[in-house]
């Protein structure tokens, strides 16, 4: 699959090459339509839940993606999300303005991104260690400074996007959401556009694939990595802010609960492309929603069996259909100008 390369003209060849993808897509659309015909309300609820669950995951995956596209591995997504969630929450408590809190959450993520950039670009530290430092640090700091019993000024509520929200199924699922969910969808497409159609994207990918080639044509590799990793941090911060400002409305220690690591998996699953990550996050969110729905329907299985569904499904899909993927060639390696 050539999703990583520049989109070339989509030909019938593309469909043949990606026949599995196409087939799965058709099956999915077909099943959704069928399910909707059978029970519209449940289908809508499940898909809405899918979107909700996928939002922090896709944002986290985009964070990882933009970092790795520029050549920096980020396994600190979890920690960056947690910091974003925590500071957004604290801002919401003390400043009482959701939008300011959102900005602060993003800022917190940006700072954590900056820290990762500092460690991996300036100090040329091993990037896996850098990410681990961020993860532990975030757990420690948020755990230590969190004060219980703080009450927030509420959370973001869904709003309908005019007539779009009236479309059956699609309307309530996609066009009746709180702001960060909308933002996530927009960011997916913006990032896709930026990465594959703009100067910034071209340079970012060049820096991640072949930094010295970029350097020789006058692109500042360090600067590109710094900025991309910081932007990545902002996305993780946004994912964290989603949890405290939109998903829940309150903070809890360790509330990211491994979502940052799942995001990492989703990024790889999506083959380092925004649209791919979105699809993968959707698949994940869907299995979560289905797992809940199975319990709703009173399926007589231990919750542990149902609970394993998303993970086993991911492994199967990965092993069966996706297989080997090719990460950006220069990721993980600090760029060193030999004489500079």
């Amino acid at each position: 699959m050539e999703l990583t390369a520049v989109p070339r003209k989509i030909s019938t060849n593309w469909f043949i090459k990606n026949r599995w993808l196409v087939l799965i897509f058709i099956i999915i659309i077909g099943s959704i339509a069928y399910a909707y015909a059978v029970n519209g309300r449940v289908t809508t609820a499940v898909l809405a839940s899918t979107l909700r669950q996928s939002t922090p995951l896709v944002l986290g995956a985009l964070c990882g993606l933009i970092c790795e596209r520029s050549g920096v591995i980020n396994i600190g997504i979890e920690g960056q999300m947690l910091m974003g969630a925590f500071l957004a929450f604290m801002a919401n408590v003390y400043l009482g303005n959701l939008w300011v809190a959102l900005a602060i959450g993003i800022l917190a993520g940006a700072l954590m991104g900056l820290l990762l950039a500092f460690m991996s670009v300036t100090l040329k530290m091993d990037q896996i260690i850098g990410g681990t430092v961020i993860n532990i640090l975030a757990i420690g700091l948020t755990g230590y400074f969190y004060i219980s019993g703080l009450t927030t000024q509420g959370k973001f509520q869904p709003f309908a996007l005019g007539p779009l929200a009236e479309i059956p199924l699609i309307g309530p699922v996609f066009f009746k959401n709180p702001p960060i969910t909308y933002m996530a969808i927009v960011i997916v497409f913006v990032l896709h556009y930026v990465l594959f159609y703009t100067r910034w994207g071209l340079r970012t990918r060049a820096v991640g694939e072949h930094p010295s080639a970029a350097d020789t044509v006058g692109i500042n590799v360090y600067k590109m990595r710094y900025i991309n990793v910081t932007i990545g941090g902002m996305l993780a911060g946004l994912a964290g802010a989603f949890l405290t400002l939109e998903g829940v409305g309150t903070f809890e220690r360790g509330m990211t609960n491994g979502r940052g690591f799942l995001a990492l998996a989703i990024m790889i699953f999506g083959k380092w492309t925004p649209l791919g990550a979105w699809g993968a996050a959707f698949l994940f969110g869907f299995t979560y929603a289905i797992q809940t729905q199975l319990q709703f329907m009173g399926v007589n299985l231990p919750p542990q069996f149902i609970g394993s569904l998303p993970y086993i499904l991911t492994i199967l899909v990965l092993a069966g259909f996706v297989g080997r993927s090719r990460p950006p060639a220069a990721e993980g390696k600090p760029y060193e100008k030999e004489g500079g």
Binding site: V6, T198, R199, R205, A206, H210, I219, N220, G339, G340
Partner: protein
């Protein structure tokens, strides 16, 4: 080959001047007070051995490195180059020996990278970029498909992309770092013509090489670098290969390998109609047949990218064979695993020494047992014998003259020549029936080349069958007993060395059929 018989007048305006350039790396003085002058429309050859400081000097001129001391003047202006961007702005374009191209991107994307013309929102109009590349390629006669992906292109075309990249940035000073290293003689000639075309349009070129013949053919003026110093400026008309070689190496160099006539024995390697696929599942070895006898060197000559790599990998078990047969002595090894083939006393000097030949973070001693660690005395019942490994390391380092601080030194920190010596030492220090050497001397210094050549000949004389794969025609002609020319995945012709003239082999390499 040059249209002009006399060197270009030294009174043409000076476009680039370097004064007293000095650059120190940890442990090595790469450039020591180097002066350099480049005139407009001139082809200036910079000649020097590997490690003489050519690449460092060029990296300084192109802004990649900053010198510790010295001045650079471009078009009459004293400049300080902080980055390649600074150099590009002043019209200095560099074509690196290791191409600076992003493999997964298209030609056009690589060309515009860093100098993109964008519309609102940073949008790159890729069609416009493709158009520009076509325009440039027409203007300078550098034909290329702008939508092709770099990793699909043969090296010769990748080099064109590099040149177009510089021209796209309106470079009028072009630095070509070892541009012919990967080209056939014919392709090299094409390149020289392109160079002349460029100089005719006012471009000045610095041409870096260690190939003496080329220098005499194409250059207007020659600067020789040795040990980081500029040791002389000469003109082609007043130089010979021998005089240049002496200037370059600092002593008299024997350009011919001294060897006796071959005494071929029985056939050791026999290959019939071999077929092999590359990574993208394209058939790149298409019905290759050859045989090598003991006591002879069969050289496979060919331009890089004609299936040699895949052929050698298939032969040594690293790549599956989809058709044909391979026999080593009486045993069929078509589908054998590498370990089995190696255990049949087949030594393999791989093409890419850093990727296949060595484990960089390992010590020299550990690398010296890479394919024998499981044998006595290096291990006994799966337990390593460190003393035996160290002993072996000390002996081989001495025997093969590997210049290393100690046997515990990481292989990665050795020079190219010494890395190659480690591999050669490892491969030749055991009983060998068949030696497969793929590009054994690429990119290493003259001293190491001589040493390795002598080792290969010594093996032949000891009765080993040698299969040498090389893109260096000089190497092929000086070592081979028979020359098999490979083109497009098969052997087009096998010639005894007596009949293998430079011209004939060159033509065969370029794919022109004889008779």
């Amino acid at each position: 080959m040059s249209d002009r018989l006399s060197p270009i007048a030294d009174d043409a305006p000076i476009v680039l001047e370097a004064k007293g350039i000095t650059k120190q790396f940890p442990g090595v003085l790469a450039n020591d007070q180097v002066d350099l002058v480049l005139h407009r429309g001139e082809i200036l050859a910079m000649l020097g051995e590997n490690g003489a400081g050519k690449s460092t000097l060029m990296s300084i001129l192109s802004g990649l490195y900053t010198p510790d001391a010295g001045e650079i003047w471009i078009k009459g202006e004293h400049v300080t180059l902080h980055s390649p961007g600074d150099a590009i702005i002043r019209g200095v374009g560099m074509v690196y020996q290791h191409f600076q191209l992003v493999p997964v991107m298209t030609v056009a994307e690589n060309v515009i990278l860093g100098a993109e013309v964008v519309k609102a929102g940073g949008y790159i109009d890729i069609r416009e970029a493709n158009r520009r590349v076509r325009e440039l390629s027409k203007q300078y006669g550098l034909e290329i498909d702008p939508t092709a992906v770099i990793e699909d292109l043969p090296v010769g075309l990748q080099q064109r992309v590099e040149i177009i990249k510089a021209l796209y940035r309106q470079a009028d000073i072009l630095i070509l770092d070892e541009p012919t290293a990967v080209l056939t003689p014919q392709e090299s000639n094409e390149l020289f013509q392109i160079m002349h075309q460029l100089t005719a349009q006012g471009v000045s070129i610095i041409f870096i090489t260690h190939k003496l013949k080329e220098v005499l053919t194409v250059a207007d003026r020659i600067v020789v670098l040795r040990g980081g110093k500029a040791v002389g400026t000469v003109y082609p008309a007043e130089s010979t290969e021998a005089s240049l070689a002496e200037l370059m190496v600092g002593r008299k160099v024997i350009l011919q390998v001294d060897k006796k006539r071959a005494q071929p024995g029985k056939t050791v390697l026999k290959i019939e109609n071999l077929e092999v696929l590359d990574e993208r599942k394209h058939k790149v070895v298409k019905g290759l047949s050859l045989d090598v006898r003991e006591g002879e060197i069969l050289a496979v000559a060919g331009v890089q990218g004609n299936g040699q790599r895949e052929f050698v990998e298939a032969l040594t078990g690293l790549r599956p064979v989809v058709g044909g047969h391979i026999f080593i002595e009486d045993e069929e090894t078509t589908h054998s695993i590498p370990r089995k083939i190696s255990e049949l006393d087949v030594a393999h000097i791989p093409e890419d020494r850093e990727k296949h030949g060595l484990v960089m973070p390992y010590s020299v001693a550990d690398n010296l047992v890479l394919n024998r660690y499981f044998h006595e005395p290096f291990s006994h019942r799966a337990v390593l014998n460190r003393d035996a490994i160290a002993e072996n390391g000390r002996n081989l380092v001495k025997e093969f003259d590997v210049r290393t601080p100690s046997i515990e030194t990481h292989a990665g920190s050795l020079s190219g020549g010494n890395k190659q010596k480690v591999i050669v030492a490892r491969e030749l220090s055991r009983p060998v029936k068949l030696l497969v050497a793929n590009q054994p001397t690429r990119g290493i210094d003259v001293g190491s080349i001589e040493f390795i050549h002598n080792q290969i000949v010594a093996q032949r004389d000891a009765g080993v069958a040698v299969l040498l794969v090389s893109a260096e025609l000089d190497e092929v002609l000086s070592l081979a007993d028979r020359v098999a020319v490979m083109f497009d995945g098969h052997i087009v012709k096998t010639l005894p060395i007596e009949e293998a003239t430079r011209e004939r082999v060159g033509l065969l390499m370029a794919g022109s059929e004889e008779e």
